[in-house]
Amino acid sequence: MGEFRLFPEAAATNAVAVDHLYLFTVLVTVVMTALIFTLVFTFAIKFRRRSEGYVPPLIHGSTALELTWSFIPFLVMLVMFFWGAKIYFDNGKPPSNALDIYVVGKQWMWKVQYPGGQHEINELHVPVNRPIKLTLASEDVIHSFFVPAFRLKRDVVPGRYNSMWFVATKPGRYHLFCAEFCGTEHSGMIGWVTVLPEDQYQNWLSGGSATGTMAEQGEKLFTQLGCATCHLMDAQGRCPNLRGLYGTKQVMADGQAVLADDAYIRESILNPNAKITAGYKPDVMPTFQGQVNEEGLLQLIAYVKSIGPKNAPGAQPAGGSAPAPKAKLVKAAGSLQ
């Protein structure tokens, strides 16, 4: 039996923020419950039935009271609302210097890959004190990536990318759970998140059996699947050149402009005709649905990123740029109250 605790350990900036909010709400709950219990019991005892004959006075009510006990609770609730919303929105925007890691959920395991090409299953290694951005994709059903020690959770939904980000503050090993029911081994879809000091993290990276960076693996796929035949060698310009594409706004045939982000590139591969780039014909590019799995897609995207504008995050060398200075970090993390 593991060691018994009543409060989970906090290992991320977000965890601390959430804990504060939690303690506040617990306080509210305790106070209000206490209040109600005292009201009920004092009245119940003080006004217990003494004689059968006693006829209580006729009290209709009091609008003043009704308003008080509507408003005061409501104000308290508003605090709970704004406080929670603040943290939630801070978690919505990953800082630009976040280190990208890619996670694919699959019945019933977590597949993790790093820009440097390292792979692991049901394990996630991250450096301490650095914003990490996870891109979450699912091969099959809805899963949910849950790290209690970070107080973070995000559903992993097939057909789309969700992302979450955090700054781990304490080296150590923490539980990783799948929190959305996904079938037989749902409760077995668990693993560990290991937070390492920067230097150890670098060793771990170099120790990992990487067959080339994600971008390089993506490049391999790019040739294997024959993307290159069109996108690089194609002379007649039947196909757009993917160089410098990533992160730019693309104009579509129907006039709408879309940002060429991960999701867009993913769609372009699986369902090319969904959005036709202006100046090109539909039905030229075949769909690659079924020919390449989520991991492959992520690699292709990493490749497209790498040939994109130089400072695109995906283009970072394995391990990412040097850790950001701490001061900036806390601001980036933003969730410290």
């Binding site: 129907d254 369902n271 005709n273 969904a274 036709i276 539909p282 039905d283």
Partner: protein, 226 residues
Amino acid sequence: MADTIAVEHEHTPNLQHHFDNMEQQFSSATLGMWTFLLTEIMFFGGMFGAYTVYRSMYPAAFESTTHYMNVTLGAVNTMVLICSSLTMALAVRSAQVDNQKLLRLMLVLTLIFGFVFLGVKGYEYHEKWVEHLIPGPHFEYNNRAFAHEAQILFFLYFAMTGFHAIHMIVGAGLMTNLIIQSSRGRYSSQYYAPVEIVGLYWHFVDIVWIFLFPLLYLIGAHLKHT
């Protein structure tokens, strides 16, 4: 409580024991039916909700499907239903004015229109089947640009028109019953609640179609002309 005075109690054959008078019984029945139609709105509303979401997501794909819809038949069916609504309304009126012959005639006409509608619908389904437009493994859509999203519309097409058709069939059943009863002279200006109630239902089903027609058949009608 209070000194209880016996409420006077009409005695008409059609008055159920727990109602005080026909007035109460009639207004309860109509309120009941309207309330039921309220739930019907939400029932179809779920599908209209899904429709709205996906049309806002994939406007082009949805427009592309009109090319595969039989707009003419759609329009014809709309008119057929409108006619049936007229006959239904007249049926109720004939009951109100004690015109038994007209009542029967109108009910029969309504039923016939209903069957015409279902017939046409069946024919359309058959078309879709032949053209492999049934969503699923055998779905074929030669406008490959939207091979995926188009399925969503066709799925909604079958779901919405399908549930509408089921309502029509139920309606036809009710109609048949009315015809039988009316041929026994059950209904009169004194007692026509059943006719009124079924009428309300029938008109509602008509209304649903009034929306389905433009939303399913005419999404991209303008494209073919430009």
